[in-house]
């Protein structure tokens, strides 16, 4: 029972990080139909800022907001420089553009920073743990869960009550009609990128605080997982992204905990099989996007 509870806490921590990343992907996808594979590099940028701040002796309380800001700025710059010129191109063109951005950044990190993994100095408290009855829970896990909850509440309020948030929902449903209302396409798209950068920055801080290191490919795996989570939840659906992120986190952690030793190597394929199984029964994801009206044969 204790093991189960312990793993559940881990699943919430990992699933929450996936959820934040999947939300960022879903936000950009729902406003401009782009699957941004360079989302992972936003995480890596934030990770390097944490590393640099640690080396420069900047207190962690200050380096976190700096890292998140860097991810936001990088996301907005990415949209302005790379994605705006291909905004009206096909989904495939945009996808290839995002791969290009991703690879260019990876090569830049490898050549100008280091191809190898770099240590990130973290405050001591993050590696400590707290005892709850029979459970031992890492402070970094508690921080991850708390941060995820705060972020989800903030985003929910923003999308429901702020006029730009409502405009983003309107644009996700019908971009042309939203423009007719005077909602500027640039505002909505830049807003979606800024928010996705914010989410990637926060996710990067959570990710790095579990690992204490950063490397040029750091963002790749979590964003690939987040992409799977976004599809599992229903691509373009924000609630779906959160649901998919948590579900994937749970599947991975429980498989790691309960799969027999001899089968541990097949953990990822088994996890993906479970995802495919869900998609067979719910082809449009757990919570399909409202913009998805077209029937498929």
């Amino acid at each position: 029972m204790d093991l189960f509870l312990q793993q559940t806490v881990n699943a919430f921590a990992l699933g929450g990080t996936y959820a934040l990343l999947a939300l960022g992907l879903a936000m950009v996808f729902s406003t401009m139909g782009l699957i941004n594979f360079a989302h992972g590099e936003l995480m890596t940028i934030a990770g390097y800022i944490l590393m640099a701040c640690g080396l420069a002796g900047v207190p962690f309380a200050l380096s976190v907001p700096l890292a998140i800001c860097a991810a936001v700025i990088a996301a907005v710059a990415m949209e302005r420089i790379a994605f705006r010129p291909v905004r009206n191109a096909s989904g495939a063109t945009m996808l290839v553009t995002s791969f290009a951005v991703s690879m260019i950044l990876q090569v830049l990190f490898q050549n100008f920073i280091s191809a190898r993994s770099q240590a990130v100095l973290l405050p001591q408290v993050l590696s400590e743990s707290v005892r709850f009855g029979g459970l031992v829970i890492g402070v970094n896990k508690i921080a991850a869960i708390a941060t995820t909850i705060v972020m989800l509440i903030f985003l929910d309020r923003f999308m429901k009550h702020h006029r730009v948030g409502i405009a983003m929902r309107a644009a996700a449903e019908d971009f042309s009609v939203a423009r007719l209302m005077g909602i500027r396409a640039n505002t909505v798209i830049a807003g979606a990128f800024a928010l996705s950068g914010f989410l990637a920055g926060v996710a990067a801080v959570l990710w790095v605080s579990q690992r204490a290191s950063v490397d040029p490919l750091m963002g790749f795996t979590p964003v690939l997982k987040a992409f799977i989570a976004a599809i599992l939840g229903g691509l373009g659906s924000l609630r779906g992204a959160v649901a998919g992120g948590f579900l994937l986190g749970f599947i991975e952690i429980y498989l790691a905990a309960y799969l027999p030793q001899g089968m541990q190597e097949f953990r990822d394929p088994i996890a993906l099989c479970l995802v495919v199984l869900v998609l067979i029964f719910r082809p449009n994801g757990l919570i399909p996007s409202p913009a998805l009206k077209a029937e498929k044969v």
Binding site: R163, I166, A170, E173, V177, M181, G182, I183, R184, P290
Partner: protein
């Protein structure tokens, strides 16, 4: 009297499809204009081109003395021209209140927004009643009212209505046409694209009949009612 809107030899082309092939039309302040014609005659393309949603490949659009040809769609609400699009296209996952709020997105003037809310809720009491309901759960007639209400939230000088009666029950269609006469009394100038020719010509002052992307006939509503061209345009004969 000078024209509120004046369109000169407008062409609309989507790739190889030449939907509108040189249309001239004028709309004066306070008028109701009917755009008539068979499916594919270019009526909706014309309206969409007026607000920048369809590409005007040639020609000139002048609204309130300003050349607005090729302007981005987001500019028009603030200039005073809005479109209630074909098929209503309300934001189904937004509440009625949020839909109307989006209609007023371009408005900076707070008291004017307050007046707009009152006006829309007075015109459509049902929207006040259902303001927290998702727009997607409204009936077709209520969605049409919401679409018109949303367009009215920016206090337009010129309201473009694309097929407001399409797919609605006869009783609701009557309500929609009553609404058009009420709006006229409030001083809203309108261009209405309609399939329901007889009702459209009842409320309109003037009309244009489109066929194959060109104007086949134009005149006062009374002239058009008796015209042969109108029937020909619908039957597809030249």
């Amino acid at each position: 009297m000078s024209a509120l809107l004046s369109v000169q030899s407008l062409h609309v082309q989507y790739g190889a499809v030449h939907a509108v092939r040189g249309i001239d039309l004028d709309v004066r302040e306070g008028e109701i204009i009917a755009l008539l014609g068979a499916n594919g005659a270019g009526k909706s393309s014309t309206l969409n081109a007026l607000v920048g949603l369809a590409p005007a490949s040639q020609g000139k659009i002048v609204f309130r003395g300003q050349d607005v040809t090729g302007s981005a769609p987001e500019r028009f609400a603030a200039l005073g021209m809005t479109l209630s699009p074909e098929g209503r296209r309300v934001f189904g996952t937004l509440s009625v209140r949020e839909n109307l709020l989006m209609g007023a997105y371009s408005m900076r003037d707070k008291p004017a927004v307050k007046t707009a809310w009152e006006r829309v809720f007075d015109l459509f009491p049902i929207l006040r009643e259902r303001r927290e309901q998702f727009a997607g759960t409204l009936s077709g007639g209520q969605q049409q009212m919401l679409a018109v209400g949303r367009a009215l939230m920016s206090n337009p000088r010129l309201l473009l209505l694309d097929e407001p009666s399409l797919g609605l029950a006869p009783k609701i269609v009557e309500q929609i046409f009553e609404l058009i006469t009420v709006l006229r009394k409030q001083g809203v100038t309108m261009v209405v694209v309609e399939q329901n020719v007889s009702m459209a010509l009842e409320v309109a002052d003037r009309g244009y009949v489109l066929a194959n992307g060109r104007i086949a006939a134009s005149g006062t509503a009374a002239q058009l009612r008796n015209s042969q061209t109108l029937q020909a345009a619908y039957l597809g004969a030249d």
